[in-house]
């Protein structure tokens, strides 16, 4: 009899123990929707790997309020697959928060499904403007939009190029060239719009197919319209072709600003050697001045970089850092505040986030646009930065607090380059 009682008590205790353990250990299950295979796989995996480090860091501390973070991976190879995988995450896996996606077309398609099911979509790396232009309530994007790249090029022209060249910003002549897919068109049009807003003289805004084998006509148009500044949005092949033909056509301008893709690649500098020097380029904030960081952000960034290198045997670049930044924000700020994965609670917590400049590993702050804003869900404090190729390496030169070097202008003419002379204004 005694034994029986002990047995029952033991069983009860055991049962209680198991259930209490189960409650304590029930993890935060987060959907990870990336192109893990296929043609986008390289940077898709790289982006996710950044987020994996954020997961390691939070789980090592014992998780979020005692709950570990777990990924439920979904492979969105193309927009169609991204949709079905997002549906699977929500319907089968009962996921309440989807983290993704790196590629804009995948993000655009999958976030539609999440919104319809009132599930949070946390976008870490897709930059197409239209993703946050649909008035979605459950969509949040941590990084800057493509249009912000064009705007920054014009702002830099207005605030730095014009004063340095002792020109009235309203008299400065701007030439814009962009490849005619969605990426180039978005950046090019935003630059043209911003330049006109500031009263600049946009002398040419030319688009072209990045698959063209000849850009001499673009160089000729610029030669006849004589812009002081050229703002260019190009992929790799057209950025190489244009700069070569600019040399052949002896096209000279005072400043040349690329806006990501081609002009930011190490291969670009390798192709042109010293002829790549003094070109500007706009990219997400990597290699910024550490004085920007506030609190322990710099330590977090360094910890992330070392952990990433240890786990994946190379140091993280833009994509991995974007993945880390978005996941870290989610795990350290948003979810602890929300207290659960309930989409309404996460939404409320996300909209309440107010991180000033210097508070993330990208240097910029976080403030999501509320649902009544035309860019609902966009991190309005996310910015790209402007770099300049000097000695064939990219150095951040703008905005001021992020800068590690001073911008050198004007761009030497081809004749000056051949003679090895520069006439930079101090």
């Amino acid at each position: 009899m005694k034994r029986g009682v002990i047995g029952i008590v033991a069983v009860l205790l055991l049962g209680w123990g198991i259930s209490s353990v189960a409650i304590a250990a029930e993890p935060y299950r987060i959907g990870a929707l990336f192109p893990f295979t296929g043609s986008l796989a390289l940077l898709g995996n790289e982006s996710f790997n950044g987020a994996v480090i954020a997961q390691d860091m939070v789980n090592e501390k014992g998780g979020i309020q005692g709950k570990k973070v777990e990924w439920v991976k979904a492979d969105g190879v193309d927009p169609k697959k991204a949709i079905t995988e997002c549906e699977r995450l929500i319907a089968v896996e009962k996921i309440k928060l989807v983290f993704g996606t790196y590629s804009s077309s995948l993000s655009f398609a999958a976030s539609e499904i999440a919104e319809r099911n009132k599930v949070i979509y946390w976008e870490q790396g897709a930059i197409a403007d239209n993703i946050t232009a649909r008035g979605f309530k459950y969509l949040f994007r941590t990084i800057a939009r493509a249009g912000d790249f064009g705007n920054l090029a014009v702002k830099f022209t207005n605030e730095v190029v014009a004063p340095k060249l002792k020109m009235d910003p309203k008299k400065i002549k701007v030439g814009i060239m962009f490849e005619d897919s969605l990426y180039g068109t978005t950046v090019g049009n935003s630059a043209a719009k911003k330049a006109k807003e500031l009263g600049m003289d946009v002398v040419a805004a030319e688009s072209y197919s990045h698959k063209t084998v000849d850009l001499s006509s673009v160089a000729m148009i610029f030669k006849s319209k004589r812009p002081d500044v050229i703002i260019a949005t190009s992929y790799m092949e057209d950025s190489i072709l244009f700069w070569r033909q600019a040399k052949e056509m002896d096209l000279n301008v005072k400043a040349f600003i690329g806006t990501g893709a081609g002009h930011g690649m190490p291969e670009w500098a390798k192709t042109f050697g010293n002829e790549a020097n003094y070109i500007f380029n706009i990219d997400p904030p990597i290699g910024i001045n550490p004085r920007v960081f506030k609190g322990n952000t710099l330590e977090v960034l360094n910890d992330f970089r070392e952990r990433f290198n240890k786990k994946f045997t190379h140091y993280p670049a833009t994509h991995a850092t974007a993945g880390f930044m978005a996941a870290h924000l989610l795990f350290e700020v948003v979810l602890p505040k929300a207290g659960s994965l309930d989409p309404e609670a996460v939404r409320k917590a996300a909209l309440a986030v107010d991180i000033p400049e210097g508070g993330t590993v990208f240097g910029f702050g976080v403030k999501f646009a509320p649902p009544d804003n035309p860019a609902a869900g966009q991190n309005l404090r996310a910015i790209p930065v402007l770099m300049q190729w000097q000695e064939q390496k990219p150095w951040v030169v703008y905005p001021g607090t992020f800068a590690v070097r001073e911008a050198l202008m004007p761009l030497p003419t081809w004749e000056e380059r051949a003679k090895g002379i520069t006439k930079f204004i101090k």
Binding site: Y208, V213, D214, S216, S217, I240, R244, E248, T271
Partner: protein, 287 residues
Amino acid sequence: MDITILQLIINGLLLGGMYALISIGLTLIFGVLEIVNFAHGEFLMLAMYAAYWLFQLYGIDPYVSMLIILPLFFLVGIAVQRVTIQPILNAPPLNQIFMTVGLSMVLQNAALFIWTADYRTVKTTYSGLTLKTAGLLISFPRLVAFLLAMGLIAALLIFLQKTYTGKAIRALAQERKAALLMGIDVYRTYQIAFGIGTACVGAAGAMLIPVFFVFPSVGSLFVLIAFVVVVLGGYNSLTGSLVGGLLIGVVEAFSGFFISPHLKEAIYFVIFILILLFKPTGLFGRA
């Protein structure tokens, strides 16, 4: 005349020379032998890689490397014809299309596997060299490519008119069965013609690498325009290909400047369609 107009004409002619150069091999293979070779662009890609690696590994100037690439690609052409085209010579033309499209995919993906998707360029002393005369700018490597296109076309014209093999190729193009009855070794002649066509693409690749760049699918940028040039020229006319190439180059330079760089490809296609509407056999083709 306005200096801008003159400069546009020069740019257009130099660009057209490049198009003509790329199309010569195709004129022979597609125009004369009537083999629809969709792998033409990939041969160009391979030639550009050959010139690139000869320069990077052995420091051989691309213009000099042509002496190696020409005979090498002649042999490559013979081998490709022997292995892939010859067995299906009597099959419907559709089979040739499938075969060459397949070959193009295999070559593109093999290149992607071996050399990765990186863009590769060579930097020679004359890469950005521009000749300046009376305010006009002429790119030196483009001028060389233009002159080579002229030279190659002249040499091929003489070869096709004067030599026995040349005459055999033309006989084959006119009527295969009759050529066979006249005692022409049909398979051998096909192989030689395909070899010459491929060698011409090889030369084009070596000429292009100082002004362009190479990556596994670079051929796809050029192959469509090469077909357009050949059809515009009138299928089997080398002179036609030269004129067709130059015409498209000049149209592209002018429409890019006066209308929009965005529309220049569309405009030369409109002109292409118009010419074929009024002269379906192409500029120099005989009905």
